[in-house]
Symmetry: C2
Subunit: 134 residues, 2 copies
């Protein structure tokens, strides 16, 4: 359970924390019922304000990913890490790993990769959501 946040990326820290927790759940690093670190504990190790962690937990609870019980702590909700999913994720990880390696061999910088990837996602989104053909 170690997170890596980038305070200078422009993305709000609480959103980054949420993403990392989601990632941990998706990849199986966290399972249903597992207890998340306490708000103050996490804030201490990540060198940030407890309120920021609390906000991340609150948002994740609204999304249904975790369950926050007042005096007890925060726990990963049920019905997320089916074995079927974890296999799917592992496949995807393999694909992306080799993809990134190929891009590196092309001499691509991290920023360039990210821009091209986001561009592909944009194309995808437009092809699936645009229905008003003028």
């Amino acid at each position: 359970m170690h997170f890596r946040l980038n305070p200078t990326s422009g993305v709000p820290i609480y959103l980054q924390l949420m993403e990392q927790i989601k990632h941990a759940v998706e990849t199986g690093a966290l399972h249903s019922g597992d207890q998340l670190p306490g708000i103050r504990t996490l804030a201490g190790t990540l060198v940030m304000n407890p309120h920021t962690v609390a906000k991340a937990y609150r948002e994740l609870q609204h999304e249904g990913l975790i369950e926050v019980r007042h005096g007890s702590g925060a726990f990963v909700a049920g019905g997320y890490s089916s074995t079927n999913d974890s296999l799917r994720i592992r496949k995807a990880q393999g694909i992306l790993k080799s993809t990134v390696e190929r891009l590196i061999s092309l001499g691509m910088a991290e920023d360039e990769m990210r821009r091209l990837f986001e561009y592909e996602l944009l194309q995808l989104r437009e092809n699936t959501t645009i229905r008003t053909g003028k």
Copy 2:
């Protein structure tokens, strides 16, 4: 020359604009010497404040990607879109396009793809920057 910005993503708009312009230059949609739209013009079509566009241009100038001449306008700087680069970019685009398609066939959502991709980039960064092996 059309940009797509997402005001609700948490990423500052001026940063998104910068990324899109960089992308346009890298992919060859903009070439060295090309004039960028005027600050007021762009702000009008993108429905945002001229100051936001100005900030993006200013930052891009600091990075050396564009050249801003006071009474004339903003122009793409030289020495960026060599034909060698555009071929490299096209290869990378092909790779990423097929990668995204494979991820979609796995049933991955856009958020999941982005998280896994960012994770791979993180792995990469750590493997190349960590030198203090204790």
